[in-house]
């Protein structure tokens, strides 16, 4: 497949600007205030976000505290990994074998320990506002990167929170798929044995009857529908979504490596979607809100499923030579309290959490930041969700300071307060 590499040039910036409906003087001013935008490295093309909904206890996953008292350390022991000196939880054995391909960030922090707004912050890189709904990074990516065509640019599994397009408008919302699907959902394909000639004939006829509506074509909605029509016919003709989702055609070995869980199946589908040109896929996995019975839940279900799927995804992308151009990120809306509560659970904790990143030109076998000895606070390399968002977008070749417009006409940088953390880049 032909890979277009785009370096950040003034021309590109102007294109972005006109795409977003900025007038030239505004754009020039935006440019004057925006940070200098030079892309030295080949940006990543795609991103897969594995979203752990409910807030994972990352102290029990990526940032173990073996020397802390019982009431903090928890029931799990650390295990050595493929990176010398780096330890993660014993219940992530397959991940332990691939940490040399990953960056662990142990220093994400924010101040919203509530599911809804916390998710919004991490998903969008903006502190939530009741006045304005910010777009998810997936929607931003769909909006800003050149479409590949014939596939939806942004796909989600399982309706993860705040994965919408916010003020960008629904043209950029996610193509939502059911996380528990067993078969190809209705309305993504004409079927493997469709009569394409008959379809084409009907579409042609449809276009004839649609022409009269062009008198209303100045309308935003009418225009949007027109664009979707073209795109939808393309996707259906290529049958790209069904092909990617139809994992029956994958080898048993492949399926086995990802695990039979929904997360495993959807991770495999995500890889196939990215391969067919989808730019951003979010795979949601619920159940991480472990106020009660944290350790059994993690040990018996959550960690084994995640371990298998995530490690398989990273290895698979790597084997196919796709890891360098695909960012894999695994995180949730916040971490959980180092202090274990009275019901063997951990509660919401946003002051310190860890996440895992791989590929996309992020360093391999690297740990960024650190928490204090009990995991309560970040003591080194603190990053906010805004920093994280800016860093990912930068990596995808999108200037986080680029100016967009809300429907009411407010101008808005894609990310307002984030700093690109270039130490993370290889």
């Amino acid at each position: 497949m032909q890979r277009k590499q785009s370096t950040y040039t003034r021309r590109n910036f102007l294109q972005v600007g006109s795409m977003l409906g900025l007038s030239l003087p505004m754009l020039l001013r935006a440019k004057a205030t925006a940070a200098p935008t030079v892309m030295n490295n080949v940006p990543a093309r795609n991103m897969i976000l594995v979203w752990l909904g409910g807030g994972p206890a990352t102290i029990d996953m990526w940032d173990p505290k073996p020397d802390a008292p019982d009431a903090i350390r928890g029931e799990f022991a650390p295990t050595s990994t493929s990176v010398s000196g780096l330890q993660i939880c014993e219940h992530l054995p397959e991940m332990a074998q691939v940490t040399h391909k990953c960056t662990l960030i142990r220093s994400l922090q924010h101040s919203i320990p509530a599911h809804g707004p916390g998710s919004q912050y991490v998903m969008t890189g903006h502190v939530p506002s009741a006045a304005l709904e910010y777009p998810s990074l997936g929607s931003v990516t769909a909006r800003m990167l050149e479409p590949v065509g014939g596939v939806p640019p942004y796909v989600t599994f399982g309706n993860p929170p705040s994965s919408g397009a916010g003020y960008l408008g629904s043209a950029w919302s996610a193509f939502e798929l059911d996380a528990t699907m067993r078969e190809i959902p209705r309305g993504v394909s004409l079927g493997a044995d469709a009569d394409m000639a008959a379809f084409d004939k009907r579409v042609k006829l449809r276009n004839v009857f649609d022409r009269r509506f062009d008198t209303r074509n100045a309308d935003r909605i009418a225009r949007g529908l027109d664009a979707f029509q073209q795109q939808a016919v393309d996707v259906l003709r290529r049958d790209s979504v069904r092909r990617a989702l139809d994992i029956e055609s994958a080898s048993d070995e492949e399926k086995k490596s990802y695990g039979a869980s929904n997360l495993g199946m959807n991770s495999l589908r995500a890889r196939r979607l990215v391969e067919s040109g989808v730019r951003y896929v979010t795979v949601g996995m619920e159940g991480w809100d472990t106020h009660v019975n944290n350790f059994n839940t993690l040990r018996n279900t959550l960690l084994p499923r995640l371990d298998k799927a995530l490690a398989a995804l990273i290895v698979d992308l790597d084997c196919r030579g796709m890891l360098d151009e695909t960012i894999v990120c695994c995180c949730g809306e916040f971490g959980r309290t180092p202090q274990i509560n009275g019901t063997a659970g951990r509660d919401h904790w946003s002051s310190a959490m860890s996440l895992l990143v791989a590929g996309g030109g992020f360093k391999a076998g690297f740990v960024h930041g650190a928490t204090d000895k009990f995991g309560n606070a970040v003591i080194e390399g603190a990053m906010s969700p805004a920093d994280l968002a800016a860093t990912f977008l930068w990596r995808l070749g999108i200037d986080p300071a680029a100016i967009t417009r809300t429907p009411s006409g407010r101008t808005m940088p894609i990310i307002r307060d984030g700093i690109v953390v270039s130490e993370l880049f290889a």
Binding site: P152, S173, R202, R212, R216, A218, G224, V235, L236, S408
Partner: protein, 799 residues
């Protein structure tokens, strides 16, 4: 208006003055900056204007660089203490120029936040002078009564390309002051009005608002920038032909005339009929109805049609669906209780449907939501009998919901337990505020609202209106229950037959509410509606609140509702989004909003009358085909906007165009039109797929952001590829139609009327005939035609 006009006079009389005293007979002339630099009036606003106190800078919980300000400056006493902290050397009284408060933002010394202003700017000079004058703080000196832009509306034409408005603050002590220098300005559309500090410039045709923010308190100014193309020259005649139907049209066309945007001509019969049917009952008109309507020569047929549709049962069903969304019928609270989702949603829907069918006044309906209790003043034993009756109906969801609809109050609204039986009264307060006032106060839960006047204390005082609401068993009911159980035991011992006592969980008013404390006062705040006087702590506070809310003197209540109705029919509110009423989000047509609200109040909150007023306006009845000047209009209602069909309406349109149904909803006695389906999850996989792809609102949030009917790729793909759609067409009423052996012309006409509710034009007719002529398989050809028509934009939108 009066006060603003007075202010205008004030401001122009003392043009160039900055401090204007309302009290004194002859205000003293002063040079800038003001007589005294005041901490609250001048210094604190600058900290806001230059963004010093936002969450990413010194307003963050930990502050920045050892210097912490309150978020958005809500606590000026704390900010003053932080600034004058002796360890901070932020203030140097003997050498003001060496104060860090000056050096840092001017970047004369290291500052993580970079340069905010220079030393010789207004800000720099103000702060310097404040320090030189002793850096004092008079607590309360800056307490605001109001902030206004003067003028609050301006027209920028090629003859007058810019304006420098004044922002006048009125303080609690009655003094006025020009605070322009201390404000931050924001243009809502820079393609219409651009900003250079406080100077507003014409950037292009259109209209928008510029918002001035003084210490977090916004004031708006409407900027109208007329179209100057020659096109307007022809427009004059179009305006001359314009015939207004009612007051709405006068106010709409007034602004269009200023802007030089011509309204579209009136729609024709078929355009009107399709639009009004979809808008009022969510259904396409049947071919026979279209033919009849067009043939009807009665002058009043449009008005008659409107009346018929407004009293149609599906109109009430559509309203019920809408109210279920506004009130969040699917949010059960996180601790699920006895009510199953289905029972609850059916009952909720039925309660509203009955009220809209009876055209119950809106204020009465809202009172019965707000003041709901489960017992409604009945004796506990009477209620238990009633609950037992309902229990017997539990297999028949229609009967059960009709039984519930007979209740006076909607107690389900309050039944959203979080953990066990606890209610989240803060969330309920936010819900009430968004649903019935159109004001979102969530921001103020944690800090002062960044661009509205609401403070944390406002949020908590409103919450205290609802702290008495409890779920469980009231002490009175509990002892009644104990008696009942005792009687039962007694009876059982005597060997008499007994009936099981149903489990009861009631919404009731507790006499010992846990009231919220003030944000910094540590005393229990009095319950108080937004921006109003406190209400008594005793008695059901919600009743006093409802009296305040529905009082004809309270403009917020009626305005919120008329704006929602407007948005429903036009696809866009006069205030948009409809639940974001705020000084920072002014209406596009303020006078129209007031007029509609006044009419609504005067009519005794008669919903149907309000709808009739809107639907009979020329503005609503104009065509969606644009004129030369209104094609890009998106907020002046110069043409009918194209609105995507709601998910339910689309399903009904597919059902009626094909003559084949999607099937029954789980538990329902019979098939229902999709617009009348009360539940979020129908248990019918086909319906659920279409509802979810076409983004039927979840009915969980009160937020208007759930109402997203914008098209998506998924929807278009579903329409193009759903195999059942073709099957539906081939097996639906097309079969009967062909059995009558119509001519090709008749067939084509029927297909067009069924789907697009209009006749084909010549070209379309020709194309369609070609398709029919080209094959011997008439059914297949007709099916292809209908499929093609149903995949047009014209089919999936209202226009």
């Amino acid at each position: 208006m009066g006060r603003i006009a007075r202010l205008l006079v004030f401001a122009s009389c003392f043009a160039g003055l900055t401090t204007v005293r309302a009290a004194g007979p002859s205000p003293t002339r002063l040079d800038w900056p003001a007589e005294h630099v005041d901490f609250e009036r001048h210094v604190a606003p600058l900290l806001s204007r230059y963004g010093c106190n936002v969450g990413s800078c010194h307003g963050s919980a930990e502050g920045k660089g050892g210097f912490k300000l309150s978020l958005f400056g809500f606590d000026m006493t704390a900010d003053y203490a932080a600034i004058t902290d002796v360890n901070g050397s932020r203030i140097d009284l003997s050498e003001p120029d060496l104060s860090l408060l000056l050096l840092k933002p001017a970047l004369q010394t290291d500052h993580g936040g970079g340069k905010r202003f220079s030393e010789d700017s207004v800000a720099g000079r103000t702060i310097r002078r404040w320090i030189a004058e002793g850096a004092e703080h008079r607590p309360g000196s800056g307490t605001l009564r109001s902030v206004e832009c003067v003028p609050n509306r301006t027209i920028l034409s090629p003859d007058k390309l810019e304006i420098r408005p004044k922002v006048i603050a009125t303080f609690a002590d009655g003094t006025h002051e020009d605070v322009t220098e201390y404000c931050e300005f924001r243009s809502q559309d820079e393609t219409v009005a651009s900003l250079d500090e406080a100077v507003i410039r014409r950037a292009g045709p259109g209209d928008t608002h510029v918002i001035a923010v003084y210490r977090g308190y916004p004031a708006g100014m409407a900027v109208l920038s007329p179209n100057t193309d020659e096109a307007t020259a022809d427009g004059t005649s179009l305006f001359a032909q314009y015939r207004a139907n009612n007051q709405i049209d006068h106010l709409i066309v007034q602004k269009l005339q200023i802007l030089g945007i011509e309204p579209s001509p009136l729609a024709d019969d078929v355009e009107f009929l399709r639009r009004v049917s979809l808008a009022a009952i969510g259904q396409l008109p049947a071919p026979a109805e279209i033919r009849q309507f067009v043939a009807d020569t009665d002058q009043d047929k449009w008005a008659r049609k409107i009346d018929t549709l407004l009293s149609h049962p599906l109109h009430a069903a559509l309203w019920a669906t809408r109210m279920c969304e506004i009130t969040g019928s699917r949010d059960l609270g996180s601790a699920r209780m006895r009510d199953s989702d289905n029972q609850r949603e059916w009952s909720w829907h039925a309660w509203f449907r009955k009220r809209f069918a009876d055209n119950v006044p809106y204020d009465e309906m809202v009172r019965d939501i707000l003041c709901a209790t489960t017992l409604e003043g009945r004796e506990f034993s009477d209620y238990v009998d009633c609950a037992a009756q309902a229990d017997e109906l539990s297999d028949d969801i229609d009967a059960l919901s009709e039984h519930y609809a007979e209740r006076r109050t909607l107690d389900l609204f309050w039944r959203r337990p979080k953990v066990n039986e606890d209610l989240d009264v803060e969330e309920l307060a936010e819900r009430v505020s968004a649903a019935f006032l159109g004001v979102r106060i969530e921001c103020a839960k944690c800090h002062k609202h960044p661009f509205d006047r609401w403070t944390q204390d406002d949020h908590r005082s409103l919450t205290n209106v609802f702290t008495q609401v409890k779920l469980g068993l009231s002490p009175r009911s509990r002892s009644a229950m104990v008696d009942l159980l005792k009687d039962q035991r007694e009876a059982r011992r005597k060997g008499l037959p007994t009936e099981t006592i149903p489990a009861v969980q009631e919404v009731f008013i507790s006499t010992s509410p846990h009231d919220k404390l003030g944000a910094s006062s540590q005393t229990k705040l009095a319950p108080r509606p937004l921006g109003a006087q406190p209400i008594p702590r005793q008695g059901d506070r919600r009743e006093a609140f409802a009296v305040w809310l529905t009082d004809t003197a309270n403009p917020m209540f009626a305005r919120n509702f008329v704006n929602r109705v407007w948005q429903w029919y036009f696809g866009r509110g006069l205030v948009e989004p409809v639940d974001a009423f705020s000084a920072a989000n002014p209406p596009s047509h303020p006078k129209l909003l007031d007029t509609l609200a006044d009419e609504f109040i005067r009519s005794g909150f008669d919903v149907r009358r309000l709808e009739r007023m809107i639907l009979t306006s020329r503005t609503w009845q104009q065509s969606s085909i644009s004129t030369k000047t209104n094609a890009s209009d998106e907020r002046n209602f110069a043409r009918a906007y194209v609105i995507p069909l709601r998910a339910e309406s689309l399903v009904d349109a597919v059902q009626s165009a094909t003559g084949s149904s999607f099937g029954k909803v789980e538990l329902a006695r019979q098939e229902l039109p999709a617009v009348a389906i009360p539940v979020g999850r129908t248990g019918n996989p086909q319906l659920d797929t279409w509802f979810s792809a076409f983004q039927r609102p979840e009915r969980k949030l009160t937020c208007d952001c759930e109402q997203n009917f914008e098209p998506t790729l998924r929807q278009t793909m579903l329409l193009l590829s759903d195999p059942d759609m073709l099957a539906r067409i081939r097996e639906g009423s097309l079969v009967d139609m062909l059995a009558q052996d119509p001519s090709n012309e008749e067939l084509v006409e029927e297909l067009f009327l069924r789907s697009l509710s209009r006749w084909p034009d010549k070209r379309e007719c020709l194309e369609a005939m070609n398709v029919l002529d080209s094959t011997g398989d008439r059914l297949a050809a007709a099916a292809d035609l209908l499929w093609s028509l149903m995949n047009t934009r014209e089919f999936v939108t209202n226009h």
